[in-house]
Symmetry: C2
Amino acid sequence: MSRQMVRPGGRSARVQASVHAAVRELASEVGRDALTVPLVAQRAGVTPSTIYRRWGDLQELLSDVAVERLRPDTAPGDHGALASDLTAWAEQFLDEMASPGGRAYIRDALLGDPDGSNAGQCSAYAADQIDFILTRAAERGEKTPDVETVIDRVVAPTMYRILFRPDGLDAAYARRLVAEILGLTGP
Amino acid sequence: MSRQMVRPGGRSARVQASVHAAVRELASEVGRDALTVPLVAQRAGVTPSTIYRRWGDLQELLSDVAVERLRPDTAPGDHGALASDLTAWAEQFLDEMASPGGRAYIRDALLGDPDGSNAGQCSAYAADQIDFILTRAAERGEKTPDVETVIDRVVAPTMYRILFRPDGLDAAYARRLVAEILGLTGP
DNA sequence: CGCCAGACGCAATGATTTTGCTTTAAGGTG
DNA sequence: CACCTTAAAGCAAAATCATTGCGTCTGGCG
């Protein structure tokens, strides 16, 4: 489980915010690979032992930060039809996740995550977005696949290729995945 | 790139074998999380600096060992028909990969792998196995999907769920994925 | 056989991680 | 509102780990 359930508003929350901010700042200043716990601690105005005690090690801290950054900040756009909604979402998803930064976040999220809860959280984000799109389509009266199917047929192939075969990924691939799944469910 | 291209038979090869063996032994004795470079070095009869110089850090070493262990050691079995060959392979794949040990290896392989070549290697192993099955089926005269399709529709969903949603995975899931893809390609 | 290049061992150095103890601050209680 | 309890943070010492320069050895090649 993530270390998110700290008392909100207290000193713990300030420390967490400060440490997270320090990670993000330093990652963009000196590069993700140059991060160390003492470095982050110094920037955050905190002692290293605080970080070690709260997060265990650098990987778990990075995993925490990564999950936070992988949380979608906007609801999927409304293009009037399931096909265009899902296509647009899949293209954006691929685009964000396949970028160097996105891939680093995914790896970090998977990495310092002994019990898999951070990874589960990432998956839940995607599932929520898809559910939102599908529910909206259903309210329009469109026939829709279910969330699990979209995850298996769109999200999973995308993530698999990002992680295991980073070459030759483009928006056309995402479009093709969506077209194939809708072709099955459609008319 | 993996450190496999050492001169075979020389001292380098002995060191590599010894270090790999030490990692496997210690992983099962003290647990994967308790591994440290000095510990491995001691068991392997090697100085830590040797490991640091050859592998860089513990993660890259673990990644190396993981890829080696993820290499299939046997060709996919012949059950006389594409459907049964692919189903059996998918069930075994899921079974091996979803086990606690398998998941740890996958994560290690993804982890210490700055350029993605180890992960690519893992994917290539699966692709080879699938290609073998499909080619055999084609020689029997069966109509087959192509390798990329099987990866997208069987391997990717399996791996995605292993990494991101480890719950509720069983052989039936693998069978369903295979049934769905063959239903599409078949009569 | 002797040379060369690469790989290893050794040891010193510097950085990180861990740990015991103390101090602080948040939240609850009388 | 003052007090008490407890979780979390600070501090500092000790242990462990990572890095690096240099000398030695192994194995391959002319």
